[in-house]
Point group: D2
Chain length 267, copies 4
Amino acid sequence: MQENNFKIDRHSLKTAISRVETDKIVTRGYNQRDLIEKIRYSDMVFLLLKGRLPSIIEGKIFNHVLVSFCDHGVTPPSTQTARIVTSSGSPVNSAVAGALLSFGHKHAGAIEKTMDLYQSKINSLYLTDDAEIDNKQIAGLAIEIYQEYILKDKKVPGFGHRYHNIDPRADKLMEIVIKEGFIGPHIKLALALEDLIYQKKQIRLNVDGANAAILSDLGFTPDLGLGIFIIGRIPGIIAHIHEEKMNEDEFRRFCDLDDVIYQQRGK
Amino acid sequence: MQENNFKIDRHSLKTAISRVETDKIVTRGYNQRDLIEKIRYSDMVFLLLKGRLPSIIEGKIFNHVLVSFCDHGVTPPSTQTARIVTSSGSPVNSAVAGALLSFGHKHAGAIEKTMDLYQSKINSLYLTDDAEIDNKQIAGLAIEIYQEYILKDKKVPGFGHRYHNIDPRADKLMEIVIKEGFIGPHIKLALALEDLIYQKKQIRLNVDGANAAILSDLGFTPDLGLGIFIIGRIPGIIAHIHEEKMNEDEFRRFCDLDDVIYQQRGK
Amino acid sequence: MQENNFKIDRHSLKTAISRVETDKIVTRGYNQRDLIEKIRYSDMVFLLLKGRLPSIIEGKIFNHVLVSFCDHGVTPPSTQTARIVTSSGSPVNSAVAGALLSFGHKHAGAIEKTMDLYQSKINSLYLTDDAEIDNKQIAGLAIEIYQEYILKDKKVPGFGHRYHNIDPRADKLMEIVIKEGFIGPHIKLALALEDLIYQKKQIRLNVDGANAAILSDLGFTPDLGLGIFIIGRIPGIIAHIHEEKMNEDEFRRFCDLDDVIYQQRGK
Amino acid sequence: MQENNFKIDRHSLKTAISRVETDKIVTRGYNQRDLIEKIRYSDMVFLLLKGRLPSIIEGKIFNHVLVSFCDHGVTPPSTQTARIVTSSGSPVNSAVAGALLSFGHKHAGAIEKTMDLYQSKINSLYLTDDAEIDNKQIAGLAIEIYQEYILKDKKVPGFGHRYHNIDPRADKLMEIVIKEGFIGPHIKLALALEDLIYQKKQIRLNVDGANAAILSDLGFTPDLGLGIFIIGRIPGIIAHIHEEKMNEDEFRRFCDLDDVIYQQRGK
């Protein structure tokens, strides 16, 4: 075994995720030998992030969420970045990293912002009233959001898509959670809000908005939203990297000199 | 809908991964509405990368592979990078990108190198002899590799681990494929090679070596090896990023001035 | 010449930085042939960022700024990230990218925050009073900042360093601008603030605080602060990457299993 | 001062670049206070990378090299990546990191490959003959390279540019080194090779080829070639990031749905 020439004081690196001993790895309290044999990959993701295995219904719903993030063709900036980096001859991990850097607050930030919005609203109910949350209260929150955003001409996070009128992923996800009876307060709020916004503005929930509600009802805090989106989207990005490498010329030319407008000196 | 101020000539962006139309997304020939409802996330990964759904046994085995890559605690350079980047106050996508950049040829490159080795050996049999591959031929290949590496004191890719004598993940994966009867020529070759190397050197297959053989028998080419490892490992990295953010001080101090040895000027 | 298979509509890519024609490149209005022959690299940086060449004194001061960012040994997270990524066998551009990702708001964000603070304060004077700014007004602003931060126990950006009591770079930069008579309102404000804070708290300007003031007096807006720091620091990072590659074992071990504290399951 | 909760054994982090003590930083043997006051930024870069200050002529030539890398408008993949990442709302350090990841072996790899080629050829002379290298020997090496590449229809690294017939930067650099009398064996070789290749193929040295020769005569080894290119190019990339942020809509649309060709299922 290799020598450690970077000897760190014991008790300085702390983790509750995995305990590694010689010939044994225990993750979130389970021997990895058992995890490898017995659980679904989507449940493994849940276990890593939440520290416990999902219930049957949680596992089912979380699987739908992960699949729904899979791919949106060559249109997203992240996919285009992955292809340009690949085209330059960089390795696959660099191309995936490039794609991730394109998940800025304008591209993939909506999910966390929406989770924040839904959870802060729902939490305000719990604070003021410890009885069961009823539909009337949810409707009140939807109106609040409507007033804070639509009436002030602000974009509501989680609504609208630049290529779709009805985002087919959001629509399907909502259909599924209704069918499966997995409807907590955050999903109720998203649905009530969609009713209101659609009536007045013909704008609907997008995939980020639907998943923000579902992940909130699954008990995830907003700071994990982008991470879960990343997990769901990376396989698609790797498929694009592979396709670029297999089917396109290396270092293909992305623009001609006369495609560019040169502006006058001075900004 | 937003205007495109970057108008690209039609027929310039090509993809076989997803067809995006207004209100409809079709991935690898399947409507995403159906995929979201019906398939497991690990099968979705397979579909994206291979262009077809797995058979039942392929889906099962591929799920074991993905779970086996999940986490190795705080020891890997990639996890440490993710934590340092997080500690500096960068967003989660940057921290994941940093981790990915640490998958250099020394850290995560072994899987592709091992797939290359196994596949080139097995392909050489198909080239010279189109009859069924038998165990004797496999044994011959194992001896070839043994001679090319061990006798020349070169490290065999896919063998040995700096923290484990028996990598519990490799051991479990091999137990499973044997139990499930999923043993193609590449797995046979890995097992034969392990017998040989263990006898002489007491070194065993590691998780990369085991998965290189399994992924080869699943029909993946080497250039997808690192991508599949990335898919499997990213959830663990995101768990570490979350843990760092929740439990540690921002910008914690990683070294003291007198931890450092200053060498004389000149190298 | 290579064909462009990505034909973009003319008038879609706009830039005022460089005009590229066959056999000719004009940057910020100057033929690159002339720039290569005649100007100093630090003036080239100024030209690129500001769109014009610096005056003699501006060029001199900007050169001091760039040199002052050069290196802080192995202590910064960015340098450690660069070394870990290099150690994993990734190429130099990936290691530099990893280092950059560690410039989060806690590591390198101070310069922009400080520029924001100084410029918003000074701009407030220009708004309320178009006469020359006098020392009394500057002193008033310093007291304002003191009250907004120190009295509320908030960290003043640009002050204090975790390894230094007197940051030698800040101290030298201030000595130089005084000697050279390059003292605009932002530098005056930084000096007045330092007097106040040092008296009460024995904390002094750091390299970010000094450079924030100087760059503000050079006419840079805050959004270029991090970029200029990056330009100044990257040569040092590349020196560390080179040193790691030359002098250390590849994939050296950064921790031992018993260096780690494993916490109980559950977070 | 902040506590270090990551206590590393002394003598584990080694560096010859900078010695950091409380209130004092010494880089390559010089107090940073002196460096900040006295040296040009381009000389600081040389000092960091080589461990010593340049001679007057070395400093002059190295300055030309750095300026020559500055910018090539919006055409390079790295610049396009920087703009896409910026457009997504990511911070400037992420956008620079994205640009760096596009410096793959096809985009920025030529300089190291060319340095390797020139240095291995010139070194072969030193090995076989310790007398002064004469022009006849250089001419012999040029013919060797010509035969190994051109006669075998292989691209010679450092020659040809997809937008230029005469790369104005290479042409100017060669004019300067001749005028300044800075012509070592590597530059001689590059010039001899250009004569040969231009006669037969009408292809000329590009900026990478010219700088590979110059940097080799300045005593840099090939593994620093990409790093020096990065140092020279990053200011231009930061100018593009700034321009994108100031002048373009956030998250601007880069393609329309009917710009894309969807291929049949199956690859």
